[in-house]
């Protein structure tokens, strides 16, 4: 029991650092994208009154990566936002490992269910 509490604490520490790193990386990439975006488009008119939806390249992971590699401001920002969305997903993947290390099979199953829902949302919903 004592050993388990210790492992829990260790896992929580790693989790904390993982979350911090994910948010930090994402904020950095978004900021870089912002610099590129604002230097190129800063003087255009801002208009979000009418909903048009994003162009298809900013809606999927491959499209976003392609735009970001072309050093397009909006693509880089969107890539940073993808890192942000991936942070909780990484946390869930890490938790599977953590529960497995504690031989807690029930919680490995619960965590896999959560991961499946997340992956369905990220990958499955583009095909709907």
């Amino acid at each position: 029991m004592i050993e388990r509490a210790w492992t829990d604490q260790k896992i929580e520490n790693i989790l904390g650092n993982l979350l911090r790193a994910g948010v930090g990386l994402s904020a950095f990439v978004v900021f870089c994208g912002a610099v590129v975006y604002l230097t190129h488009h800063g003087h255009s008119t801002a208009d979000y009154r009418v909903f048009q939806g994003e162009p298809s390249d900013l809606r999927s992971v491959p499209g976003i990566v392609r735009d970001a590699l072309k050093i397009e401001g909006r693509g880089i920002i969107q890539l940073g936002l993808l890192f942000l969305i991936a942070t909780p997903v990484a946390r869930v993947i890490f938790s599977i490992w953590g529960f497995a290390a504690e031989h807690d099979r029930m919680y490995v199953v619960f965590t896999v269910i959560v991961l499946a829902i997340l992956l369905f949302s990220l990958i499955g919903s583009t095909q709907m």
């Binding site: 604490q9 401001g73 936002l81 969305i85 269910i113």
Partner: protein, 278 residues
């Protein structure tokens, strides 16, 4: 207004929302959508997308700090995330079929309810409740550091908590908010989990819940980089500053003022929604 000015103003507004949200513990996300739609005339779908992104940022940032203190219960969090992520997915999918005025109306109601919940005095904690068989089987019971040493707690009414969590997830997916107040309600009131454990575990869950609907929003084209950028950076900066200057000074007055702002925004959203003007 050009993009440079727009970005600067939205950043400033989000910074204040993040700052006040973290100082009062009420979360900045709940005022972001009204701020963007009512003052910046942004379409509510773009506003929801941007708000959702900022919710993931603040939740992950704050959870990093909380998780190390040993208050949050990762088993309760993970088990209930099954309910919140399913709810969030359902909420995000039905959001496409619901009219923007209906979303604004629901948003207004949620604002009013959350302002009410934040003012309501908490019922005294029930201590030493007997262990519940289901909670024991799910290994949800835990302990946390208290003034008098380590305090143990037994989780109650698991199915009720699970159900409310599904609803909290659905609202989060529909409105792009963290719905932390409802998550705390499920844990603190229904499941009798100590308040401190409830709030930190709720924060821990918000990011995963929001990520479940973010995928749907991204693929539907609701997440605009030009708008999400100042919102996310602003809220994140504001909440970081908030946790740094978290002195006890006058958060009571600040909470009162912020609740009043939430009520006013709620009425405005409700009115615009019912009048079909959003």
């Amino acid at each position: 207004m050009n993009i440079l000015e727009f970005t600067a103003l939205v950043f400033a507004g989000s910074l204040v929302a993040g700052l006040v949200g973290s100082l009062t513990g009420l979360g900045g996300g709940v005022v972001l959508v009204p701020l963007l739609t009512l003052f910046f005339k942004v379409d509510i779908r773009y506003a929801i997308g941007a708000s959702l992104v900022s919710v993931i940022a603040t939740s992950s940032g704050a959870a990093a700090a909380y998780v190390k203190e040993g208050f949050s219960n990762i088993r309760i969090g993970m088990f209930l995330e099954i309910a919140t992520t399913l709810g969030a997915l359902v909420g995000a999918i039905i959001a496409v079929w619901v009219s923007t005025s209906a979303i604004a109306t629901i948003f207004g109601l949620v604002l009013l309810v959350s302002a009410f919940l934040s003012r309501k005095p908490r019922s005294p904690a029930e201590r030493n409740t007997p262990p519940d068989p289901l909670a024991t089987r799910l290994r949800l019971n835990g302990s946390f550091p208290d003034l008098e040493g380590v305090r143990n707690y037994n989780v109650q009414r698991v199915p009720a908590g699970f159900g409310i969590m599904f609803g909290a997830g659905a609202l989060s997916g529909l409105l792009g908010i963290g719905s932390g107040a409802m998550k705390v309600l499920a844990m603190d009131q229904a499941m009798k989990i100590p308040f401190k454990v409830s709030t930190t575990t709720s924060n821990f869950m918000i990011g995963v819940t929001a990520a479940a609907s973010a995928g749907v929003y991204l693929s539907r084209g609701y997440i605009d980089p030009g708008l999400s950028m100042p919102v996310m950076l602003g809220v994140l900066a504001g909440s970081l500053v908030g946790t740094c200057i978290l002195v006890k000074a006058e958060t009571k007055l600040l909470r009162l003022v912020f609740s009043a702002v939430i009520v006013l925004l709620g009425i405005e959203m409700l009115y615009k929604g019912l009048a079909g003007r959003l």
